[in-house]
């Protein structure tokens, strides 16, 4: 039951992009085509899950016992940066097709605040356990994927629309994101 609530909350109610404002840079940056947004979502799912697992263990078994909780931010970002590099190298060797699909997005993910954000938020989960934290990361990356892919599909149509000159580009994208966020607001109170 707990897990269903986490899933619905992360995907719809507290959508990581549209209501928590994490991962806005890739949301606005790589959403011009549906195909790229699918690739980005895959990469985020991959990195976010592994990163949350690694940082959760690091926090639980090294930082807290040693009383070094205050080094959280600095260690987490280093772990994430190193992990992204490692994933990139391993993918290149083990699965070239997957690397082809996700490779270009990996370097961008280090500065994707959704990854660090979810890693930190996962520490505060009620009755936290490693499984719960990892599930939370997966749920949030599904939420990220949903927002990004829906947004990209709308943007593909916008290409063809007749938009006032001053609104072209960034402003109209932000407006569309606002409307999307408004739609997601309807899910509040669901859990």
């Amino acid at each position: 039951m707990d897990y269903i609530i986490i899933l619905i909350a992360a995907v719809f109610v507290n959508n990581i992009v549209l209501s928590q404002f994490l991962g806005i840079c890739p949301f606005l940056g790589v959403s011009n085509k549906v195909s790229t947004s699918v690739g980005m979502s895959g990469a985020v799912l991959f990195v976010m899950t592994i990163a949350t697992m690694a940082t959760y263990l690091l926090h639980q078994y090294i930082l807290v016992p040693a009383g070094l909780d205050y080094l959280r931010t600095i260690t987490f970002i280093l772990v994430i940066a190193a992990l992204v590099q490692m994933v990139e190298i391993i993918l290149k060797k083990v699965s070239p097709p997957l690397y082809q699909a996700l490779g270009v997005f990996l370097p961008l993910i280090t500065t994707n605040c959704a990854v660090l954000g979810v890693a930190i938020l996962a520490l505060g989960l009620e009755g936290g356990s490693l499984l719960k934290a990892v599930f939370f990361a997966v749920a949030n990356s599904i939420g990220f994927a949903l927002a990004l892919i829906v947004f990209a599909s709308i943007r593909e149509y916008l290409e063809l629309a007749n938009i006032p000159k001053g609104m072209k580009g960034v402003p109209i994208n932000l407006l569309v994101a606002g409307l999307l966020s408004l739609a997601f607001l309807g899910f509040t109170g669901l859990v």
Binding site: V13, L71, I74, E126, T188, G189
Partner: protein
């Protein structure tokens, strides 16, 4: 000064030095701020207590009473107030998960007879501009000087005497429940509260 070359040794040494310096300076700042951090937390609690309790001269934070209850996941915190060694009331933390966006945590102050002195909202995630109005004077005033034993703290829709916030019935309902929970716990534990002065 010329740029350092990309030799393995140079890379390892420079990163090592930066990490050591960063680690030590953070440790230093942490030592400096540990005291003020704890003080700020305590001050927040004491300020809330001063707002909700009748005048007291003991230290309610030291006399804290923790009770287990099936109503809440964690133990419930109760802060008794004494004036000249006489029990004058207590502040009880009430909480509910039934808010519009989940947890609402409030501190309710009662006098000795169980009349509500004042309420302070500690944690909430309600919709800004709607549910958050539960912090407003107009809403809170409805609870003051009332005794839940003879005053129905439910919203009027549910047959109670509290006017719900406009557009935030669920929040108002949850708020009433949290107050009720605090009151029930206060009544159940009044005897142990009276004896809790250290």
């Amino acid at each position: 000064m010329s740029k350092k070359k990309d030799t393995f040794l140079n890379m390892v040494v420079s990163l090592f030095v930066i990490t050591i310096v960063a680690g030590f300076s953070l440790g230093f700042v942490n030592d400096l701020t540990v005291g003020p951090k704890a003080k700020a937390k305590l001050e927040k609690k004491v300020n809330a207590l001063k707002l909700v309790l009748p005048t007291f001269d003991n230290n309610p934070v030291d006399d804290i009473l923790l009770v287990q209850s099936e109503l809440a996941k964690d133990s419930i915190e109760m802060y008794p107030a004494f004036s000249e060694n006489k029990f004058v009331g207590a502040a009880v933390i009430g909480s509910t998960e039934k808010g519009f966006s989940g947890l609402i945590k409030i501190m309710v102050g009662f006098n000795e007879g169980g009349n509500i002195k004042n309420i302070e909202v500690l944690e909430q995630k309600e919709t800004p501009g709607l549910g958050t109005k539960m912090k407003d004077e107009k809403f809170l005033a409805q609870f003051r000087e009332k005794n839940p034993s003879n005053f129905n703290i439910k919203v009027t829709k549910d047959g109670g005497e509290i006017d719900a916030l406009t557009g935030a019935t669920i929040t108002s309902r949850a708020f009433g429940e949290a107050v009720q929970m605090a009151y029930d716990e206060f009544v159940d534990n009044k005897d142990s509260l009276k004896k809790s002065k250290k």
